[in-house]
Symmetry: D2
Subunit: 338 residues, 4 copies
């Protein structure tokens, strides 16, 4: 933390600001120029509150120098983290991870059928919602426990690890038992209670970026999980909210590069939710891999026109297969493999 | 719902779209022009999925006509809702509600002192956080149960009803017992699990607008609570996330007018969180009342420079008192009273 | 400017960064701690490029301390600027300025009629577009020179100074001759060629904030005009672009406070363009004055349903009269007068 | 245009709305249901004002069906437009166009040197600013006419067509004579005066997307140019303004897909301005091509640390060469060639 004092600050103000900084746990280095006086914090400044400091009398400006996240920070963990999600699938590293499946589990036939199909196209894992976050209380809310059971059947049938969203801490025990990767959705990215709870278990967590979360807030949410002891965090960019309304959200592929630079955690991209239009999925999936994503999450539905949720953005198994065929050679171009 | 078909649609496509609409529970009115064919839905179209319809073959565009919320909709409940929060305080109606207090409960002396002070300045209720949503897992997370106990002492001492944020369903029973208004914070506005749970109790809920939530999404979250049976919902605008960084958020006062027009629920404004700078609070509070807000939530701290949270945006008891003195005459100008 | 070096910076890097800073015209103050090394710039740092510095080898972070605008900066000009726009009207100071009139000049009868009407309700100046910035090349583009002539007739008839938008440098000579205040519209806020040109004349300029301009960029555009020698700049907040679509734009009233604090220039608010809905104008106008605006720009049309432009957001002369009657007492509450 | 009336509309209101629509030049098709009454416009609805209609008494909602742009619309021009920019270079089609060069022309040695270098790496055209849009009036504003002269020398030396930004209509004649592609910058995307003027000449125009422009507004600005008779328009996505501050802007690659679907015009991507960090350029360039862009604009500087403008985002000639080597195979993967 660096604090710049106002040109007309008093000695008392300098002393007060220094004191607040020292109480926050740092040593203060004072540098007086003829026009500008700078206080530099040495040591762990995570106890200092940037905004509070900036309001103290005599303070002109405050700048945080170090990132507020530690366990998620590449500075302290230079090597890429690899997350083993079971059944021989590892997220991160040279090999891309492609998670595919429907928005919601709708029936045994549907989920097992799609699982078989995406597996034969080369998917690494199966996604499918049993509990669905819906804007309206009157929309289909997911099959619940029965959905979890059907996901397990699909895993039995195909060997694909399963990824599904947790919305309530009440379901945590059953998720711990039956699910391979617990997804925390965009709307719950700052549901700190839920983050703390999944931080205390030993199970991979897929953390989606919030609709209007900065990259730093996203990494801080990863830090919440890791601070609890669970370092199996997989990040997922899924589009942010902007003024543009043609697409459902705006896919921020530069965030993938940023996160890979700032953190050692693997990052996937979900082009389906980002675009909200199935015809855009293939090209944005290719772009995501070209940008350096560690993999993809793709919504696949056997009958998008009649899907109970998000049909507009789901590709068919055939379209998914075509996508995978194009992805292989492109991955090779950028030093990855499928 | 109105569906416009593409100029070159086929009869089969028209039939298929009509069928999907009818399966959604509406009667379809077909209107064929020489250039444009329009399908109008009659009846309850809440079972129709706008995005899914828009992806069907032959469809050019889809427009939803009616709002997706019912219980929160002024169309069906033209009269303003008044929410009784206990101790003789009613939110909504001619009289403004001013909720004041610190970001966090820090000690008995602090909370009881501030409560006495804001009461003497004319506040209607006391706010104070016992559980705090913090971006960093390493920041002060609130005093927890002890905080709730101290809030109760402050209520005993002053008679002010207490408003505090619920972050975890685990705490719901103790909140139900000890708190007058349960606050759902901006970051949990679409924590649907929590919304459903507070929808099933009989206790006023203060629902803050999410950082990047549209007005419609906000009202849909109110609908979640009301759909469960709890219609004691108070809305609170607290600033939205935009590209501007001078203020912490951008206070959207036109949203107050929009919500008062679309819904019958009362709306408060929190200028402290919106601006993030204490010197802005007074003027934005006056502006909020001029715009038609039913009241305010103001952060007040006896020693903002040393607050454990959000000191930068807290006014002192003296500043709060000055604000209240200016608020009275202004309220009178716009047909309200303090 | 303060530059923080990376912990592992080399002496050569320190020397190179210092050199770049010195070449930019400042004296460098080096402060070495055991963990952090800080370079502080003394003197005029307007020649330093923050982004370029931040990319130099060994640099961790760069923070600008002083604002990049000088002439528009309240630090160097503590007193409020008052802008005399002629006919006895001064913008800034205790008395509010209310500029009213139609989006476009449409006919002599229309503009003179509206001018008489708004004058009798207490307006200080008349607005009306002769050249209109329209999203579509196929929309009405304004009456042009004939529109300017009609505005002059309206001024003759009422004595109200006239405010109208300049879109092309070609029209500058005729504007200089016939107009009292030259408006630079939101879309031209960073049309630097036009800014430079109006900076060289001696005529008040009303500078609207761009749709997605930060407060600092807005003040830098004012600086462009002032750097040319024209310090008669009036700022106007007119709503920014956000994700919310219920209103045309989001009126950012906290920007009024920010600008009044950072700059000495007067600030008006245009609630008509911000909201895009005429029924919102009155309340947002009151809120703007409560927040501290120096005045308002209100679209008034005698027949909004048939206006050639922006009818949706225009109030009728009667509605404008009602607004003005409410504005007087409210202005009084906040230490202003109408 | 489709207009839905309020359930309780009167016959007079229906008649009035129909009349306004007919005056706008369309035939009105009335469709009355038991609950909903819909008015459909047949014919050219470009004379109808959506917002004005939506404010008429009795109107519930208005939906525009057809896009407001015609000449830029793929519906009326299904085939891709190819723009010949001279010296054998055509933008659009299978072959990618890569425009490279420094932000500003700084000297003969610099611009000719960079031109030779990027040509040898495979660039198709040379970019370089002679007139620079700078946020601050105190920053380097470009070399002006001398810059144009140096660009011409670089073209002589290499045969690369030159692309440079026009900021003032005053310079249009000299640009017409000496430049191959006229760039309209993001800040001037809605400088309608300038758009009209470049619409009247016969010279390719590179139209950058405004910082907060919707895709539709961008295409409407292209329409302004085309409406004047100049159909040689090349679009360029360069990042939009969002809440994220890690990158200078947020590159919106889904906009490339959207524009390629809505319009027949070619689309380039400028990853340098979008990201503002040179280390991100390569990967985002690859992603842009994977997403379907027709080419790239890349800032290349021989000495980024001492560039007079935008050094932070410029790659060196060596980095550019490396990028081009990776681009070739990737282009091949997505059916394009370099």
């Amino acid at each position: 933390m660096v604090v710049v004092l106002k040109r007309d600050h008093t000695e008392d103000q300098l002393r007060d600001v220094s004191k607040v900084m020292e109480q926050g746990g740092v040593k203060v280095m004072v540098s007086r120029g003829s026009e500008v006086t700078i206080l530099g914090a040495e040591g762990d400044s995570s106890g200092l509150d940037e905004e509070a400091l900036s309001q103290l009398p005599g303070v002109e400006k405050v700048m945080r120098v170090s990132e507020p996240y530690k366990k998620a920070n590449r500075k302290y963990h230079p090597d890429d983290t690899l997350v083993d999600i079971g059944r021989g699938v590892v997220v991160g590293g040279r090999k891309l991870t492609v998670i595919a499946g429907p928005c919601s589990v709708e029936s045994e036939e549907q989920i097992v059928g799609i699982a078989r199909s995406v597996k034969s196209s080369g998917a690494s894992a199966l996604r499918g919602g049993a509990y669905k976050p819906r804007t309206s209380p009157y929309s289909f809310q997911g099959m619940g426990l029965e959905g979890l059971r059907l996901l397990n059947e699909a895993r039995e049938a195909t060997g694909l690890p399963i990824v599904t969203e947790l919305m309530s801490p009440d379901q945590l025990p059953i998720f711990e038992e039956t699910v391979d990767v617990i997804q925390i959705g965009a709307r719950n990215m700052q549901n700190f209670d839920l983050l703390k709870k999944v931080g205390k278990i030993d199970k991979p967590v897929l953390l989606k970026r919030g609709l209007s979360s900065t990259i730093e807030e996203w990494l801080m949410s990863a830090e919440y999980i890791m601070a609890g002891g669970n370092d199996k965090v997989i990040l997922c960019e899924r589009g942010i909210r902007t003024f543009e309304t043609y697409t459902r959200n705006t896919l921020d592929l530069s965030a993938v590069l940023a996160v890979k630079s700032l953190s050692h955690l693997p990052v996937l991209v979900d082009p389906s939710h980002a675009c909200g239009r199935s015809w855009m999925v293939e090209k944005m999936a290719l772009a995501a891999v070209a940008a350096g994503a560690d993999g993809l999450i793709i919504e696949v539905h056997n009958d998008p026109g009649n899907a109970m949720c998000d049909g507009a953005q789901s590709v068919t198994p055939d379209q998914f297969d075509a996508l995978m065929r194009k992805l292989g050679p492109l991955a090779d171009c950028v030093g990855r493999e499928l």
